[in-house]
Amino acid sequence: MPFIPHTPDETSAMLGAIGVRSIEDLFDEIPAKLRVDGLPGVPAGLSEAAITRLMRERAARNMPSLCFLGAGAYEHHIPAAVWEIATRGEFYSAYTPYQAEASQGTLQLIYEYQSMLAGLTGLDVSNASLYDGATAFAEACLMAVRSARGARSRRVLVPRYVNPVWRKVARALLAGQNVELVELAASAGRTELAALAALEGQDFAALAIPYPNFLGGFEPVDELTDWAHARGMLVIAACNPTALALLKPPGEWGAKGADIACGEGQPLGIPLGSGGPYFGFLACRQALVRQMPGRIVGGTVDVEGRPGFTLTLQAREQHIRRSKATSNICTNQGLMVTAATIYLSLLGSEGLRRVAAQCHANTRALVAALTGLGGISAPVTPYFHEAVLTLPRPVAPVLDQLAAAGILGGFDLSADFPELGHGLLVCATEVRTAEDIDTYRRVLAGVLGVAVAA
């Protein structure tokens, strides 16, 4: 009986103290016909040695590849210190800091995290995390609808090149509340300002702008922001946090800046991890803070006047406000935020800027190498850190052949964005080397039957 400390003697003594004969007796309020004796579908327990061996065997079956795939999750260097510290028992096995005095470690860390995210996004306040980028995007839309002056509209305008999965998730999460996403037309990888004219007179609560967009391209953020603000809409920035080290923060877009920023926190020290856990971030202007979902930590003082930290603005949350809460979120992604805060501290602004710049430079080198093969073009420029290639033939079989050679060649865009032709989204983060890029070039040349110099 793993993880149960009771000796037979203790068990009897405890049963005696309760006044029952057996543990079974403690379940006597469960109607007999509901009780079951065992769990036929569950195998017998394993020792830690046996499960260790099993998991190692299974992990070894997951073949490692040279990764040129991004599309929302990015392979960055993660300093060893990040997870060695984040998995310390005091962080790993604590829960939401309900007892502030016994949780100053987690609380101060979240306060520092909030400060870092506010700084990165150029906004005033941040929450303590949401589940992931996709749900943060959905929550940002809901928050905007709740916040929009007079809430005339439940529609959110979304450029075409938002992450298509995020759009699906948002649709699933917004459907119940009848919030609708309306697509804003685009061409050549970015929103056409001309398309806005057709929308005049229509009501929207908000405009959500990806930054960079799913294709790595740039929307005209300043113009879009001013256009939306002029029409009483809120502006949501859906951004890559690494990019924010280099790019103008949403808080500085246009004349007044975006109102809300959200995104996927994975690039900030979170392993690819087969898809999760990651975390979503959400920041906003001070004026909107009472519409923010999720935990928020604030500074205060104790009875002796010493500074300390505590959960605050809890009246927004489900445990207080119940059906009127800003969201149903309770458990969020605390440990991931712990890791991200350590990551951001280790990188600092200069380190993160270099990571961003090197990602970008590597992706440029990759684009140059692959378009150099001939027959491949890169239709979307400028781009940041991720780029579209148009191949001379269907993408899927090419990716299969690359995968067989141990290369994750990118994301096949043809299903989501057929207008791009045989579109392939590629990415080379700062961890890719010149040799890696050359390996890709040579293997792709082989797949496409192009002759290259070794």
Binding site: A60, G89, A94, G105, L347, G348
Partner: protein, 497 residues
């Protein structure tokens, strides 16, 4: 010793140079108007400063690994270190989520096996692992209930019934799904008031959300009757599996009549709480809701594992996460479940229940008032301190703080809302009798001190890194970022930009 903010430890230009590229690549092709003018205000610190700062911060926390942590409804049991280590094997950790299925068979096999075990412990026939916490599992469940009614052309069913003892996420979820919440009361014995339930069901009923045992720490004895009433009115039953630890391997939600259930893997299956997550809130359903399960789901064909997606499940409520939920948490739960096995799971509920009943008995014998003294405790129980609060002014909150000084994390306070001055105490199965005894003694000592010198109790905590904090000030004079402090504006809530 106080630990300064990491920002205040920095110096302009200080760095941890091993962690970033030695030189940064060119960015001359980026539009100048899009470049950042000033670097983001991140800390400028050395690697040692970072390690030291966060190591020190960690030491300011109470946690399962350092303290008994009987936080009711949260199931703060031992988190095996093996789960962490094995989920972090490079073969799982370094995989891009969009890698081809052929590269990920080991990982997919774990998830598939996990789905099967979760069916076994719920009695359900379909599982989706994607929800990222209990609340998202609730969302998936209610959304499926709605989708089911709509698919049957019964779209008018928009009411979700919720007992007054329910966790806040239940009514909040109903709202997120666009439903209206109808609250029903708890009877004096701790069971739902079934007569009240009968009165509210009808053609507008989408379903009911229940935990069983409830957050009152008592098994809902009339569950079969409740199921009949709700099903009879055309509604479905949602099981909030936050309390599954109490009945694991003893009773199956499906057999109780539930149509859908979520399980907080971070509770019953002991994945870490991480200072506030991540968790996992997998959902399991009976056959009729299977088509609506959120995607992706792991399927198997000819011994190969594959993702089931939109095309396989056209009626799905859709995707709830950018990739595949909290994958690493699923792996941790998988390791834990395989370590326990079927017999170990039954023991979990057995000993969790033993610990709760023993502690309740001890406290009752010492003069404390269980909220439902005539009932068995499930894996948790409530004591109400209303008498002592009335007599001495020492509240449940004061008890909570005084417990910290004695080296115990406090139980959940003031929840469920219907029991005044309550402590919801969940010892979990992984704590030893000697620690329960010490905890009981601590409560007794605090109570005795309250009777002698209430003011002294109200001074607690005295030994924590800070003493009692001013929550009101925190909410009134918002100080949410370091930037707001640095600002020299008189009102710290003003935007620092």
């Amino acid at each position: 010793m106080r630990e300064p903010l990491i920002f205040d430890q920095g110096r302009p230009g200080r760095r941890a140079p091993s962690q970033a590229p030695g030189i940064a690549g060119p960015t001359d092709d980026l539009p100048a108007g899009l470049l950042r003018r000033a670097p983001p205000p991140l800390p400028e610190v050395s690697e040692l400063q970072v390690v030291r700062h966060f190591t020190r911060l960690s030491q300011l926390n109470f946690s399962i690994d350092t303290h008994f942590y009987p936080l009711g409804s949260c199931t703060m049991k031992y988190n095996p270190r093996a789960s962490n280590k094995l989920a972090m094997l490079p073969g799982f950790l370094d995989r891009h989520p969009l890698e081809p299925e052929g590269h990920a068979q080991g990982y997919l096999e774990c998830l598939f096996d996990l789905q099967e075990m979760l069916k076994a412990v719920t009695g359900m026939s379909g599982v989706s692992l994607t929800p990222m916490a209990g609340a998202q599992g609730e969302f998936a469940g209610v959304a499926m209930i709605r989708a089911y009614h709509v698919a049957r052309g019964d779209a008018g069913r928009t009411q979700i019934i919720v007992p007054d003892a329910a966790h806040g996420t239940n009514p909040a979820t109903a709202t997120m799904c666009g439903c209206d919440v109808v609250e029903i009361p708890t009877g004096p014995d701790g069971d739902v008031d079934v007569d009240a339930l009968r009165k509210v069901v009808g053609p507008q009923t989408a379903g009911i959300m229940l935990t069983n045992p409830s957050t009152l720490g008592a098994f809902e004895r009339r569950i079969a009757e409740i199921a009949d009433v709700v099903h009879g009115a055309g509604g479905l039953l949602y099981y909030d599996g936050a309390n599954l630890n109490a009945i694991l391997g003893r009773a199956l939600p499906a057999a109780m009549g539930f149509d859908v259930v979520h399980i907080n893997l971070h509770k019953t299956f002991s994945t870490p709480h991480g200072g506030g997550g991540p968790g996992a809130g997998i959902v399991a359903v009976t056959e009729r809701l299977e088509p609506f399960l959120p995607i992706p789901i792991v399927g198997r064909r000819d011994g190969q594992y594959r993702w089931l997606a939109e095309s396989d499940r056209p009626q799905s409520i859709g995707r709830l996460s950018g990739f595949m939920g909290n994958a690493g948490i699923l792996l941790r739960a998988y390791v834990y479940m395989r370590l326990l096995g079927a017999e170990g799971m039954r023991r979990v509920s057995g000993f969790a229940t033993l610990n709760a009943n023993y502690l309740m008995k001890r406290l009752a014998a010492a003069g404390f008032t269980p909220a439902f003294p005539q009932r068995r405790a499930s894996h948790e129980f409530i004591i109400t301190l209303k008498d002592i609060a009335r007599d001495t002014g020492v509240t449940a909150m004061d008890f909570a703080k005084a417990l910290l000084d004695k080296g115990f994390h406090a139980p959940t306070t003031y929840f469920p809302l219907l029991v005044p001055e309550c402590l919801l105490i969940e010892p979990t199965e992984s704590e030893a009798r000697q620690d329960l005894d010490a905890f009981a003694q601590a409560l007794i000592d605090i109570r005795d001190l309250a009777l002698r010198d209430a003011a002294e109790v109200k001074r607690a905590p005295l030994t924590t890194p800070v003493r009692r904090l001013d929550d009101v000030r925190a909410a009134k004079q918002l100080d949410l970022t370091w930037q707001s402090r640095a600002s020299d504006r008189p009102n710290p809530t003003a935007s620092p930009n």
